[in-house]
Amino acid sequence: MLKVDNLNVVFGHGADKNHAVKEVSFLVNRGESFGLVGESGSGKSTVLNCISGLLSNWYGSIEVDGAPLSHKRPISFYHKVQMVFQDPYGSLHPRHTIDATLKEPIAIHKLGDANQRVERVLSEVGLGPQFRFRYPHQLSGGQRQRVAVARALILEPEIVLLDEPTSALDVSIQAEVLNLLQEIRRERSLTYVLVSHDLAVVSHMCDTISVMNQGETVEIINREQLQTGELKESYTRQLLVASRGYDRQAIDQFQDF
């Protein structure tokens, strides 16, 4: 469904040159939930931004359903691929009601049935009709993230790119949003690419996981490997140890990668 091959991104020039994504390759099958995990600055968001079309300074190849993507995306692309961002505060227009936010893509894509579509998608993300004419500041963080998910779903995409969708939320709200994402994926047979710095979140949500460090793919693993600890790379093993909490002795063994 989605194939990324030798993807590279370089920001800046000369002394400021930053090769942020280096030869990254992975394959995501239809209906699969694929994870990208790594520490901050490892290039996870940059990879998603290349796929979604937000960034165009990449080279390499990205294919959706066998068709290579160019830097500029046709409008039809957004019926296939949509993205949800970490920060529900920053990604919603503060002076637009939820209704207006959700109707915007319907108008751009000339879909019609706007009211019905908005009602349907709001109920799908667990927000009652009373939320429809509210503004973002009248919602809690978890409710805002539900709106962001609704906005991604309204064009009925096949692939949803999720960039740290629960990192800004309290754990109890995170649980609700993760449950919602799993339910929607099942019902709509969606394909996910989920970015997170949290191994437990990717392990809960994803079958196959690419571990990134400093722009490079460290290894691609499946979730059973996280459970058994049978990992090839010491970087991944260290991440796994760190995810288990504070262990004074273990910390002395940490290396810089």
Partner: protein, 290 residues
């Protein structure tokens, strides 16, 4: 388990804090009591549960419009509610220090980190400039900064997140306080750096025989790092529990927090959703925040 194992450093009895708001008083903290010795105690809760307000109320760092009431806030025999502002300044430093989440708010952007740390020392110790610098370099080494001379001359924006937090710890520990309140000191850092910074803090706290109040939203981290845990919800203490016994907690809120976390070994079924109960907030649960 409401009493510390060793001599009591800090005792707080029935601390309540409220803020005026257009809709009336908002209670941020209600009837919080704790007693601690030279131990690591964690305060855990979701955002808005009153963790930071509790820490700041102890040190009288809240804005003047905050209404603070307590039967007792005593640090090593000093009644902190009755101390003059001058006595309080002495206590904030040599007595109790506080490290915040983001060093950018606590460090002065236009002064070198070295100057700021050595000033934190000279406020409380009458020594020459040279001696203060020697102590500062020693402290930078103690927080495992490999090139202290070089870091001494840097400005806050020139250091990474992990180094910034180590500098903050150096600055807060150089006056040699008896108790450190660390409010989400590592929440903005990557997990491995976070653990490395905590290890430094842990070593210093035990070498110097200090007490530590570690404020965090991360229950798993706190339970692996601290001796005892205070669980807060809606400004109230739900329970105080030994970290080693956390998994056996019977309190429904604590259980809810533990269960809603995704787990690497989990079976990927629906995560249990936390059901909140107004009964946890006692009889006056109007005016509730969080």
């Amino acid at each position: 388990m409401n009493e510390p194992m060793n001599e009591t450093l800090l005792r707080v009895k029935n601390l309540s804090v409220s803020f005026p708001s257009p809709k009336g008083e908002v209670t941020a903290v209600k009837n919080v009591s704790l007693a601690m010795g030279k131990e690591k105690i964690g305060i855990v809760g979701e955002s808005g549960s009153g963790k930071s307000v509790t820490g700041r109320a102890i040190l009288r760092l809240l804005p003047s419009y905050a209404r603070i009431e307590a039967d007792q806030i005593v640090y090593q025999g000093h009644d902190l509610q009755r101390c003059s502002e001058k006595e309080m300044r002495r206590i904030r430093g040599m007595g109790i220090s506080m490290v915040m989440q983001d060093p950018k708010y606590s460090l002065n952007p236009v002064r070198t980190v070295g100057k700021q740390i050595s000033e934190a020392y000279t406020i409380h110790h009458q020594v020459s400039k040279d001696e203060a610098k020697v102590q500062t370099l020693k402290m930078l080494e103690a927080v495992r900064i490999r090139n202290p001379e070089q870091v001494y001359r840097l400005y806050p924006h020139e250091v990474s997140g992990g180094m910034g937090q180590r500098i903050m710890i150096a600055m807060m520990l150089i006056p040699d306080p008896g108790l450190l309140i660390a409010d989400e000191p590592t929440s903005a850092l990557d997990v491995t750096v976070q653990l490395q910074v905590l290890a430094i803090l842990d070593d210093l706290v035990s070498e110097r025989g200090m007490g530590l109040i570690f404020i965090s939203h991360d229950l798993e981290l706190v339970s692996s790092f601290c001796d005892r845990i205070i669980i807060m919800y809606g400004g109230r203490i739900m329970e105080i529990i030994e970290a080693a016994k956390l998994q056996n907690s019977r309190h429904p809120y604590t259980r809810g927090l533990l269960n809603c976390l995704p787990k690497i070994d989990g079976d990927r079924t629906q995560l249990p959703v936390l059901e909140r109960d107004d009964a946890w907030l006692g009889d006056d649960n109007h005016n509730l925040t969080g």
